[in-house]
């Protein structure tokens, strides 16, 4: 065999003629057990989620915004239990209404309160002062933050559910179904959202206003309900387009075909193969949806279409603060700063999530 090979070899061939070497054990060094072990050790099995979280934790902006959000959350959860005032309560000293506690500065006490303190009583300080109706401003800001965050969260979840369902059906079915569903999306896209909110709140006020009395929806107010309805009607379209686009790309992957070949049904394919592969994009866009919902709520409250008084929201607080802006500028600053903090940190967190989880941005 060796001779045959030698005969066939081209003179100019650079191939090493192995037959000229004689290999015995002295040429090779046997690998030690330790060296063999080195070959075995592989990196720890990581899931996609763990990998993403690791990257997220390395992003200082994202970590910072998580910390800010945790602080804000714990304040709005804990503060109402510590501060002895409620958001609609007019400050009273010794059981008597304190009319002097109007428009106090932060950490300032009213005349009656000072008297009471001098007599040996204890008064919880007004951390952010009081408003024109003698209500503690700090607790109002805390409740306003609660309302704004809750609205943002629920509106985003609403958008997520509707958008996910609509988008996945449209993307997975394809063909004519997709065509019709996308034209509906196009129509909804072209509706002016503010106009719809205003019209809806007027209509709902007429029809729902009385029925709501006495139910838990009353404190929310008709305006808030119309805001949710508008989110449910209009704002899901961008989410549904995103989901559809994701599904269109994923459904052409061979592993989806492989699942079909094993006999998996559509439901299983969507749940096991398609959704897990686009879930990161969906989570990210939901995280980015929350600040935009908070913003919309604040904006609507600011123009007087938001929550029902006396329930505060950050936007309505900013709106009322507008009146005494020159004398009491801090009343605008507090809610505005909180809105900025929440929106900024949620946006930064969303960006961080995208950087960490989007496989296309992998370095």
């Amino acid at each position: 065999m060796a001779e045959q090979n030698a005969l066939k070899r081209n003179v100019l061939s650079a191939q090493v003629d192995l037959s000229k070497f004689n290999f015995d054990d002295s040429v090779f060094e046997k690998a030690t057990d330790e060296e063999k072990k080195q070959q075995d050790v592989m990196s720890e099995s990581t899931t996609f989620f763990k990998d993403g979280m690791k990257k997220l934790m390395k992003n200082p902006l994202a970590v910072g915004s998580i910390i800010v959000l945790i602080i804000v959350m714990s304040v709005i959860i804990v503060a109402p239990h510590i501060v002895p005032y409620s958001y609609s309560q007019i400050i009273s000293v010794n059981g008597k209404r304190d009319k002097t506690a109007k428009n106090l500065k932060p950490f300032e006490y009213s005349e009656n309160e000072l008297e009471y303190i001098a007599e040996g009583g204890e008064v919880f300080p007004h951390i952010m002062g009081t408003d024109a109706q003698c209500r503690d401003y700090f607790i109002r800001v805390v409740y306003g933050t609660r309302v704004s965050l809750a609205v943002g969260l629920f509106a985003s979840i609403l958008v997520l559910i509707i958008g996910l369902l609509y988008g996945s059906i449209s993307g997975y079915m394809g063909g004519k179904v997709d065509l019709i569903m996308q034209r509906i999306v196009d129509i909804i896209y072209s509706l002016p959202d503010m106009l719809v909110i205003i019209l809806l709140s007027v209509v709902l006020n007429e029809t729902l206003g009385e029925k709501l009395e006495g139910t838990s929806f009353q404190s929310l107010g008709v305006n808030m309900i119309s805001l949710f309805i508008v989110y449910g009607l209009l704002y899901w379209v961008s989410m549904s387009r995103l989901v559809r686009g994701q599904i269109l790309t994923i459904k052409n992957n061979e592993y989806v075909l492989a699942a079909k070949a094993t006999g998996a049904k559509s439901g299983r394919i969507i749940a096991k193969h398609i959704i897990p592969n686009c879930i990161s994009v969906i989570i990210i866009s939901t995280a980015l949806q929350i600040p935009s919902a908070i913003f919309t709520e604040s904006y609507l409250s600011f123009i007087g279409l938001g929550v029902q008084a006396p329930m505060p929201s950050l936007g309505s607080l900013a709106n009322t603060a507008r009146e005494g802006l020159q004398s009491y500028p801090y009343k605008l600053i507090f809610p505005a700063v909180v809105i900025c903090l929440i929106v900024l940190s949620l946006n930064l967190l969303g960006d961080g999530l995208r950087d960490a989880f989007d496989p296309k941005l992998k370095k």
């Binding site: 066939k8 081209n10 592989m42 099995s45 899931t47 996609f48 992957n253 061979e254 592993y255 075909l257 492989a258 699942a259 079909k260 070949a261 094993t262 006999g263 998996a264 049904k265 299983r268 096991k272 193969h273 897990p276 592969n277």
Partner: protein, 320 residues
């Protein structure tokens, strides 16, 4: 109802509608009347150049596409869209690209276990795990790989995962759609040997789609050559390789590199002129006539059918 053949394909056609205008669609004839049979435990190699419809034949066989017309019989029973669900257990597929055919969000255990889940082939979790580990051992994967994700494996290992998935339901027939094309040569050899071992052990039949002619010759009992959606020649592997009759097969085989420079110099390459015609605008008569050395007027008028040239060697050509 059983017959001599495991798989009988008759006049299978698969047209895809392509939009050519605002309201106009032109059919793209990906597979245009293909007929062949596969016996139990046999390997049929399917070769042809890119875009000739090999993959489509494989996928249409498994009803991943609904065929335009034609029948596929499994064990003598015709497969329809309705009873395909039961037949999924008997027919499986190994995909070309080991990178995109495994879900990146699933562990190896879940990937291999998916067919078991779908067909509910276990009574409890332990049984499922045992079955999966047995399959992994069968294809040469370690048990500790079960909890890993597909991206942690090399191409050859991934292809083994894909093969284990196909074997999970104990099929009698597997379509290997370019199953080794994406692998490098040494891994190809391993995987091909594995295919042969499995055939000897489990008696599965393969439809082995590939464009590497030497690989196909090595593994196949019989070979079908496709050109533009039609089978132009079919016969025993050695017979087709030693005595190709159809001019397309001749030129295809002459393009196989010979690993010996002296022999390679002596052999003559039959180079085809021109490009493959578009499957949307096929030539009349014989599809190959535009590039054929022997084309006559008859070729432009009558489409040749497969005729037996002796010993089951079927060729579709007027002139040979």
């Amino acid at each position: 109802m059983s017959s001599e053949y495991l798989i009988e394909v008759e006049d299978l056609k698969q047209y895809f509608p392509i939009k050519t205008g605002f309201f106009k669609t032109t059919p793209l004839k990906a597979v245009d009347g293909v007929t062949f049979n596969i016996k139990p435990g046999e390997t049929l190699g399917l070769v042809g150049e890119s875009g000739c419809g090999k993959t489509t034949v494989g996928r249409t066989l498994l009803r991943l596409y609904e065929p335009t017309s034609g029948t596929v019989k499994f064990n003598g029973e015709e497969i329809t869209a309705k009873n395909m669900a039961e037949h999924r257990k008997n027919m499986q597929m190994v995909f070309q690209d080991p990178y995109s055919s495994l879900n990146p969000r699933m562990t190896v255990e879940d990937i291999i276990g998916e067919p078991l889940d779908v067909h509910k082939m276990y009574s409890n979790k332990n049984e499922r795990r045992e079955k999966i580990l047995a399959l992994m051992e069968l294809v040469g994967l370690n048990a500790e790989h079960a909890t890993r994700y597909a991206h942690e494996f090399s191409g050859g290992q991934r292809q083994r995962i894909g093969i284990a998935r196909a074997l999970a339901v104990k099929p009698q027939f597997i379509v290997c759609d370019e199953a080794v094309s994406a692998l490098d040569v040494s891994i190809q050899a391993q995987v091909i040997n594995m295919f042969e071992d499995l055939q000897a052990k489990l008696g599965v039949a393969y439809l082995f789609i590939a464009h590497d002619l030497l690989v196909v010759r090595h593994i196949s009992n019989r070979i079908a050559v496709m050109y533009l959606g039609k089978v132009v020649e079919i016969g025993d592997a050695d017979e087709v390789y030693e005595h190709p009759i159809h001019p397309y097969t001749e030129s295809l085989l002459s393009a196989v590199p010979i690993p010996d420079p002296i022999q390679a110099k002596q052999s003559q390459r039959i180079v085809l002129s021109g490009d493959v015609p578009s499957p949307m605008n096929m030539p009349t008569g014989c599809a190959f006539r535009t590039r054929c050395r022997f084309a006559t007027d008859k070729c432009a008028e009558v489409c040749p059918t497969l005729t037996d040239k002796g010993g089951g060697h079927m060729v579709a050509c007027h002139n040979r």
